[in-house]
Symmetry: C2
Amino acid sequence: MNKHKIGISDIGVHIPTPRMDLEYLIRERVASDPKLARHMDRAVSTTGQKAIRFPNLWEDTATMAAQATHNVLSRKTDGELSGLRYLVAGTETTVDHSKPVSAYVQGMLQRAGMEVPSSLSSYQVQHACAGGTLSLIGVASMLATSRRDSEFGVVMASDIARYHAASTAEITQGAGAVSLLVEQAPKLIELDLGTVGYCSQDVDDFFRPLGSSIAQVKGRYSMEVYQQNFESAFQDYCERNGEGPREMLDSTDMFVLHAPFRNMPEIAMRKLLGLHLGMSIEEADAFLAERGFFSGVDPIAQIGNTYSASMYLFLAFLLRERYEIMGESLVGKRVLLASYGSGNTMVVMGGTVAPSAPQVIESWDLDQIFASARQSTMDDYLIYTAGPYADSEYAKLLSSIRVPTEAFYLSGVRQDGYREYNFAADARDWLPEREASVDLRRPVPILG
Amino acid sequence: MNKHKIGISDIGVHIPTPRMDLEYLIRERVASDPKLARHMDRAVSTTGQKAIRFPNLWEDTATMAAQATHNVLSRKTDGELSGLRYLVAGTETTVDHSKPVSAYVQGMLQRAGMEVPSSLSSYQVQHACAGGTLSLIGVASMLATSRRDSEFGVVMASDIARYHAASTAEITQGAGAVSLLVEQAPKLIELDLGTVGYCSQDVDDFFRPLGSSIAQVKGRYSMEVYQQNFESAFQDYCERNGEGPREMLDSTDMFVLHAPFRNMPEIAMRKLLGLHLGMSIEEADAFLAERGFFSGVDPIAQIGNTYSASMYLFLAFLLRERYEIMGESLVGKRVLLASYGSGNTMVVMGGTVAPSAPQVIESWDLDQIFASARQSTMDDYLIYTAGPYADSEYAKLLSSIRVPTEAFYLSGVRQDGYREYNFAADARDWLPEREASVDLRRPVPILG
């Protein structure tokens, strides 16, 4: 086992501002199609979702990744930035078939004035919602192999979850990005790279065919294989640690699972705790509550499905609450991370809260995620679901809105299909600010 | 620096059988459009290409990766297969936006009767033609971190290079896959994971927009940035080795570069050798010839652009020739690998020929690549370039042809867009074998 410590030093987050309240959405949907009522109610009760966030018109996977990375790298000095050695994106909503999101992000950060070096490795990893975690393990392992003190990596998990609208899957949409600073002697979570547990199968629970902007999902089946794979990868993880499942569960202080919706981690944990510790649902919930679990998943109900980013949002919220409750004694506590990717793969990995974690957590302002929310009207939302737009339409839409300063944005799509990104510095010559809901309503003929 | 040896133990190859002779293709193209003659001639002279290979109707990135992996894993016992821990695909021609090629391959191998375990990590890596190399470094580093003797990885590099036809880019098409067996105490090439050199930039030399099956390339510009990045990543590599460029070049026995076409590695090496060793073109060519360089690139002229697989084809051909020339003294020789991905990134990595390399090389039958070629008519080729086909059309086309036994194939695309793959065992109820060129000619209305 590798005794050298490598892991996560910080987490940057970007959640787009538009927010659709699900009660409102369902009321509108049911008004046009009353038959939907029963299905929608059941979907809400299964998932525990209350709202979803969706991208602004000018945002995509690449801009969100850049924004989260800009947040996390702003805490580094220019001199330190020269040590950036790995810039890797995990996503299942790529913006090009060949060029990775990481390459666009590198350019965007440079255009925003950051001294990102060219002496780095840049690529993208795909396996549904596990892309971020798989990138993290790869980058951490490469840092362990080359082991130079000043070098570090950035792993981005950025995604947009789009489903057929109107449908029950619609309420499990979402969008957002996290950016993980990966370092030696990490300041937040030390990862146990030597004992990662895996389980992968060739299944069709979820996929997105070429040419389709919406994903296909077999909801119930996907929940089932998530749980099966969690159990198998957890067993694999226990074997590699040389411990039984019971000891492993007892000695874990925090459980953090992939959270496509608020209730999924709870459903999976109840099953695992029932199986190995013989717990009833109530006992399992008490066990989880004692470990702050619900403070990690409750915020997901307000954000929606961020695919590869979701587990890291869960982690950030949980760490914040645990620090509030435990203070400095949070240091040294054991975390279990379970990252699921449909199609499928499950990664179960252990970690330990690092000595500097309190200072890192104190530097976060996670409430900003909710404070930044802008309530969306149905019109706004329909403009989103009618997208993504063809190049010329996009140009027309963009010309009538104002991108906020300090925002990365898709400034246009060239005739040959190349995507051009920019950073809205103060000097940008935007139209006067108006409410996007007003600006966007008119020019879209598609909706009629 | 990590002293533990990890690297490549074997290389499996799959090149699809259809072969288009470029002299023939250009004659046909020029017959319909005489203005093309000058451009086509120049393109052939720049690239050095003589033929391209393209996929059979039933083949795609996933089937080619499965075929190459089946080849390489057939040499393992069922017991050994349980140690397969990482199954990773590098590609820029994905078959789904969410589910990785590796998951489809896992299922295909299992359906072909291979005891591939579920206790493995499976994902896909994207950065243009460097995806395979980036996967290799990640998998090798993870093996170094977890370090269990019985465990190994498989890295697949599988791609289909499609460009606008008719155009000069057309002659740099190609298709194929390699599958690298990645192990501790490797049998073929020991990799220097601690001293990899990198250079990445945000450039638009090559990309493939969403929804497009053909890539966009700025040919001349891409050649330029390839060379710039090669020089920078080579410098980075030298610094990490603590050696000057001159010593590094002098002490390298084999140079293996990304080969999108036959002449590209030669163009890049001439420049590097001129810069650091002050060599003229003639001197550079003599230096390279002495090191068997041309025996590695010449076969590429007959195969075409296999994107992420091309550097490993180059490596295999070069190793075979070097072994023929040097025999056992090949062991311990130094290799420099330079893998380029447009968009862009360059990876320069060192390696050493392992003690068991002679036995591995002797087990190869690389001539089979050429012996398997089936000369394509213009009609065949036009059926290929008119693809990929919609689901129903594909079903119609597939019903009238015979997939060879032992071949992995796309057996159909479901109404929901899910791709279904299979393995043609002897029992498969195929139509009697006929020439594909005859069978395929009629049912395609698109061509008219």
